[in-house]
């Protein structure tokens, strides 16, 4: 438990450092309608932080999830969330709407 307290302190310190990372990021937007993403493919530059605003136009909630991006975030019906992505290497990063995985699929292409 002691080490956990140390970790909490470390986390608090890192929080200060984290806020400083704000400039020079790619801002993207994606919407969910009828349990589908529009656009289904997002593009971003490599090695830059990315901020994605996910707008849910459906009345039903969705969970924006990506194993590759390490994101797991609920978005309520007719609401929006902000997803923060750390700088990435070039590649294709898959994401889904977990509640409607059959239709809600998309990719973030990093070049």
């Amino acid at each position: 438990m002691k080490s956990f307290r140390i970790l909490l302190v470390a986390a608090a310190l890192a929080a200060g450092a984290g806020v400083a990372v704000a400039a020079d990021e790619t801002s993207l937007e994606i919407s969910i309608k009828d349990h589908r993403f529009t656009p289904a493919e997002l593009h971003a530059a490599a090695d830059k932080p990315i901020i994605i605003v996910v707008k849910n136009l459906d009345a039903t909630p969705e969970e924006f999830e990506s194993k590759a991006l390490k994101i797991e975030k609920v978005v309520a019906g007719a609401a929006e969330i902000t997803v923060r992505v750390r700088p990435l290497k070039p590649g294709r990063y898959h994401f889904v709407g977990e509640y409607h995985e059959a239709t809600a699929k998309g990719e973030l292409v990093v070049e």
Partner: protein
């Protein structure tokens, strides 16, 4: 219907396993059932409230509310699990032998049970809020709702079945070994939750260090699969962990083991075999 069943079941496995383990740990202790089921009820109630205010929660703290909430809930659960193990290391041996001898002896471990009840409540709260939100969405959409709802309810029933299987599996272990087994399980559970907590802090960019992926076993055993999910809860398995998650996992594991060793009364520790067995 099957889709809804799988989504709900996947969410409730973790809470189901936690409830089963806690029931086994507190078995035989008078009044412990009330603590555990009180925890489930409180967690379910909280889950409904969280689901209701999901949007407000997301918008809070510059869009970081959801991550901070999850990280906070997980951190409290880790502290509760660790303190339970430390408390048991100090007093548990006498209790375990008493329980074995007297069958159902009265136990004065109320404080420790309260910690475990809180762990149950937090597990139900965190997972339950997503289930509540999903089921609420089904109700709101109206289309083929009855079918999907049946799937959702079936998922919840399966989650309860996981609790029952965990409990009945654990109680077949002879009482003198049960203590060691549950101590080890709780330690691994706590380490896994601590790693999840670190993941949420990274997702919110609150912690930016050590964000590289250490390994990727999602092709072999994805942690979204049922078996992956069970392993995820039991030992904290993650298919693409970040370096920070691995560090936090190992640190929590080591921290709890060292703390329980230090807490164990010395003369007794010498003649009773080690807890790590």
């Amino acid at each position: 219907m099957l889709g809804a069943l799988i989504i709900v079941f996947r969410e409730v496995i973790e809470a189901g396993l936690v409830i089963g383990i806690v029931l086994a740990v507190t078995r035989g202790a008078r009044g412990s059932r009330a603590f555990v089921f009180g925890g489930v009820a409180a967690g379910a109630l909280g889950a409904g409230v969280v689901a209701l205010f999901a949007d407000a929660l997301s918008q809070a703290v510059a869009g970081r509310g959801q991550e901070l909430f999850n990280a906070g809930v997980l951190a409290v659960a880790v502290v509760m699990l660790a303190s339970h193990n430390i408390w048991m290391a100090r007093h548990g041996r006498e209790l375990a032998s008493e329980l074995a001898a007297a069958g159902r002896a009265a136990v004065s471990g109320d404080k420790s049970f309260l910690a475990l009840a809180l762990v149950v409540a937090l597990a139900v709260l965190r997972e339950g809020s997503e289930v509540a939100l999903f089921l609420y969405g089904i109700l709101a959409s109206g289309e083929s709702a009855a079918d999907l709802l049946a799937g959702g309810v079936a998922g919840l029933v399966l989650g309860a079945l996981v609790s029952a299987l965990t409990y009945f599996g654990l109680v077949t272990i002879p009482a003198r070994h049960l203590f060691s087994v549950t101590t080890a399980m709780i330690t691994l559970l706590a380490a896994g939750l601590a790693a999840q907590c670190a993941g949420f802090l990274q997702q919110a960019w609150i912690v930016t260090a050590l964000s590289q992926t250490v390994w990727d076993t999602s092709g072999v055993l994805p942690d979204s699969s049922l078996f992956g999910r069970v392993l995820h809860t039991l030992i904290g398995y993650v298919d693409q962990p970040t370096a920070l998650q691995v560090v936090v996992y190992v640190a929590t594991l080591a921290g709890i083991i060292i703390a329980t060793r230090l807490a164990a009364p010395r003369p007794r520790a010498a003649n009773v075999h080690a807890a790590a067995e």
